[in-house]
């Protein structure tokens, strides 16, 4: 197993200002700038969806829970010539089943299937936070060209820690 090269790693409470600072830092980093442009764009897009997902899930007064239980994290790195983005945040147990079935459904779709699902979700008139998260996951899958790996670790009767990881191979195109 080759060493993991970490490009950017953050653990802590996520605010909108923090997202901006993190992205500003990312695009200035030599380790990121060295990456081929089309891979950079994929990584950037996935990174933003993941960090915004954490922000949506853990903001709005739920910070206290994260402080006392387990902090969110996001990481971009490279291992064996494959880039990856991984993230983790607390989730209410009652939301797990829906999220899990959404992830499984997305992971079973091929590229054309993802495009159809993307179009269908894009064209819905109203969007709830849940649906917003669904569109975000489809976007992540479309950008990466790979399955979304995920894991839930129980923290207590009501909460779990949700982690996901997406690979982006260092090739010119996944089409």
């Amino acid at each position: 197993m080759a060493d993991i090269n970490v490009i950017l790693e953050y653990k802590g409470i996520v605010t909108f200002a923090k997202i901006n600072r993190m992205l500003d830092r990312l695009i200035e980093m030599p380790a990121f700038q060295q990456i081929r442009r089309n891979i950079q764009k994929k990584l950037y897009g996935i990174f933003v969806e993941c960090i915004e997902n954490i922000y949506k899930n853990t903001g709005n007064g739920r910070d206290h829970l994260n402080m006392t239980k387990k902090l969110p994290y996001i990481k971009m790195g490279k291992q064996d010539d494959i880039f990856f983005i991984s993230s983790g945040n607390i989730i209410a147990n009652k939301r797990i089943n829906k999220l899990k079935s959404r992830l499984d459904r997305i992971n079973h779709l091929d590229h054309e299937g993802l495009k159809s699902a993307y179009a269908e979700m894009l064209d819905q008139d109203t969007i709830s936070a849940e649906e917003g998260a669904g569109l975000g996951l489809i976007t992540i899958a479309m950008r990466s060209g790979n399955k979304i790996k995920y894991n839930f670790t129980s923290l207590d009767d009501n909460h779990s820690y949700y982690e996901m990881k997406v690979d982006v191979p260092n090739t010119s195109s996944n089409l």
Partner: protein, 132 residues
Amino acid sequence: MKKVEIVPTSNTPRVIFDPVSNIFEISGESRPFDVPSFYQPLLSWLDDFNQELSKAKNPSGSFEFKFNLEYFNSLSAKYILDLCKKLSKIRSDGHPINVLWQYESGDDYMYESGQEMSRISKLPFIYEEIRV
């Protein structure tokens, strides 16, 4: 009509809706803090613009609308589709619009999302691959 000119930031795109100069453009990055508040005024502006066009006795020729987006988040995508639907309405009301969808070479997601938006809104796009 008063033109729209929004200066870009690291999380909001440049927007120019200028009927006098016939420049309509959205470019840059879109992940505003409050996505609906950013896009709602633009959608309303296009409604008003369509009404103005319909009232005009001698409407001008075709309009050129350019999308040159580097990145948009998934909620912005929904609003960009709404903009396309407004443009499609203007077009179907008899006002010719040419839409240019620019995307960076190798940015498959940007190209494919353009295709889907064009298809859903029934608004033909001209695609232009930009080599960086």
